[in-house]
């Protein structure tokens, strides 16, 4: 196969067991070149294990993985040159400053005069003022951004971010995503995991959902949202949520309540409950489902199957 035309990431039949835990139970997945791809799943689904296998940090028990056609084991040098991974765990080397950390990381990739790109990374990730600070003295969010910069020192065509926004404040989260979008627009393939599903919905064109070491859903974001014909009744209340709706309703960021509805009978039922409780409805609309609702539905469905 022509490596230049193949997928950015190709994962075939990957299995990994840790003692009694089957962390990966036969994962098949392709990420196309230039995609902005999300890997979602609850805690312990196997996302980090899969990313570790991709970066050669964990050797799978079965199956194969390739980056831009380079097998991560038999052609590990090419594979690793083509991928930049931001690990989930916050780790750093306390012996060095931010700039030393990035220069050393560049050197590991054989890049000796990487100063201009390092300066750009520091700038884009709002780290320029900390360039000469020791890693130990940085806050958690700053350390996380240094890890992002470390993963990008060699301008990898494929960038994998394992929960890059955990512990990063709102403003810098926006800065980070703006930068990652820019990289994606410049042709880099992006794979990310996050527990902030609205981030995934907004950024990613395609999504895989994992549970118990398996891919349980894989489609474009638009199709996943459309597949769930279910709509949502959005209401703004001037009072507490009636107890009768507590099991189904969910608050959104704007402080409205979202009540899933599958048909008109559900709408009538919800309105009846609001009326019965004497709730004051200040505003009301029928809205599109959000990724979070789709995600919860899929995970519930999988729990029944399991």
């Amino acid at each position: 196969m022509d490596a230049a035309a193949g997928p950015a990431v190709e994962i075939r039949g990957v299995e990994k067991r840790y003692g009694a835990v089957q962390a990966l139970a036969g994962v098949n997945l392709e990420v196309r070149r230039g995609e902005f791809f999300a890997l979602l799943g609850p805690n312990g689904a196997g996302k980090t294990t899969l990313i570790s296998a991709l970066g050669g940090l964990a050797i799978p028990d079965a199956g194969s993985l390739a980056i831009l056609g380079h097998d991560v084991r038999s052609a590990y040098r090419e594979a690793r040159r083509n991928v930049g991974i931001v690990p989930q765990e916050l780790v750093f080397d306390p012996f060095f400053t931010v700039r030393e950390t990035l220069e050393i990381q560049s050197g590991y990739f054989g890049l000796r005069d990487n100063g201009p790109w390092i300066a750009e990374l520091l700038d884009k990730l709002a780290l320029a003022s900390k360039a000469n600070a020791n890693m130990r003295s940085l806050s958690g969010g700053m350390k996380r951004r240094v890890m992002v910069a470390q993963a990008l020192v060699h301008r990898p065509p494929v960038i994998v971010l394992d929960e890059p926004t955990a512990g990063v404040d709102v403003e810098l989260r926006q800065t980070l995503w703006a930068f990652v979008r820019e990289l994606n627009a410049a042709g880099h393939t992006i794979v990310l995991t996050t527990h902030y599903l609205e981030e995934a919905q907004e950024l990613c064109s395609r999504i895989a959902m994992m549970r118990d070491g398996r891919i349980v859903a894989l489609d474009t974001t638009a199709n996943l949202l459309a597949e769930f014909s279910e709509r949502v009744l959005r209401v703004k209340l001037g009072c507490e949520l009636p107890a009768t709706l507590a099991a189904t309703a969910r608050a959104d960021a704007a402080g409205w309540w979202r009540i899933p509805i599958e048909n008109t009978a559900h709408v009538e039922d919800a309105l009846a409950k609001l009326r019965a409780a004497g709730a004051t409805v200040e505003a009301l609309e029928v809205a599109e489902p959000e990724l979070e609702e789709v995600f919860l539905r899929i995970m519930r469905r999988e729990a029944l199957v399991a």
Binding site: G55, G56, L57, A58, I59, Y76, R77, E78, R80, R81, I85, P87, E89, V91, F92, D93, P94, F95, F96, I104, Q105, S106, G107, Y108, F109, G110, L111, R112, Q150, A151, H154
Partner: protein, 251 residues
């Protein structure tokens, strides 16, 4: 390869930034040993004809300090990286097992040579020691410290906690280096302990190292170098296999 050079540079910088602990402290403790033992045991017979006990002690103590610091450098660097998790920054780049191995090994040799030179430079002021054959000195220093550096890599790969590493050091490396004939010539030992000493690779390293200074040794230096080099090669082979397999590092 440039990746290898960077890792070597980083490993040297790591101990050099704290050289007070990693170089100056071991030099001082070797000097204290030298002062105490050369005084307490100064009435003893000459270990070799024409070589006083204090003189005999200088190369042995220098070598013991070098061996222990070569081990300390590789093992502590690896275990710290594993426990803090920053080993991922070495595992993610395209560094091959041979490059990782060679960088850790050479950085440990740099530290060992710095310590050995420090011990020697400081002690010759007190106790003059001849330098008969500098090439033998260099060869035994490198092979002996190489064995310890590789043992340190092995221990660093295997150990998951600091106390496991300490056990490896306290129950293997320290006894083997201490009982390798630093403080005595093995000819002065009872036959059983003489035979036991000949199973210890560090005995050959120290005996040959000392030959470089005095031109006299318990074992012919050529045989000692062959045995020590064999031990180094065997341990290196094992360690490279483990690095290649990803044992405990890529799981």
């Amino acid at each position: 390869m440039s990746g290898f050079r960077t890792l070597l540079y980083k490993e040297v910088l790591r101990f050099w930034k704290v050289s007070f602990q990693t170089v100056a402290a071991p030099v001082l403790s070797a000097l204290l040993f030298l002062l105490v033992f050369s005084h307490a045991l100064s009435g003893r017979l000459e270990p070799f004809p024409g070589v006083g006990y204090a003189q005999f002690l200088v190369p042995g103590l220098a070598m013991m300090a070098m061996l222990q610091n070569a081990f300390a450098n590789t093992s502590s660097s690896l275990i710290q990286s594993k426990i803090t998790g920053n080993i991922v920054f070495i595992l993610l780049p395209p560094l091959g097992p041979g490059e990782i191995f060679a960088a850790y090994l050479l950085a440990a040799l740099v530290r060992a040579v710095a310590v050995g030179a420090g011990v020697f430079a400081a002690s010759v002021w007190l106790i003059p020691v001849p330098v008969a054959q500098p090439l033998w000195i260099a060869a035994f220093a490198l092979v002996g410290c190489g064995i310890c550096a590789v043992l340190g890599i092995l221990a660093g790969i295997w150990a998951e906690k600091f106390d496991q590493l300490a056990a490896f050091q306290n129950f293997l490396v320290t006894p083997l280096t201490f009982l390798a004939g630093v403080f005595y010539s093995v000819h002065s030992l009872p036959p059983f302990w003489q035979a036991a000493s000949h199973l210890n690779p560090f005995f050959y390293a120290i005996d040959g190292f000392r030959f470089g200074f005095f031109g006299q040794s318990d074992v012919a230096p050529g045989s000692s170098l062959a045995i020590a080099t064999g031990a180094f090669a065997a341990l290196s082979f094992l360690t490279l296999q483990l690095l290649r397999s990803g044992y405990k590092l890529r799981n």
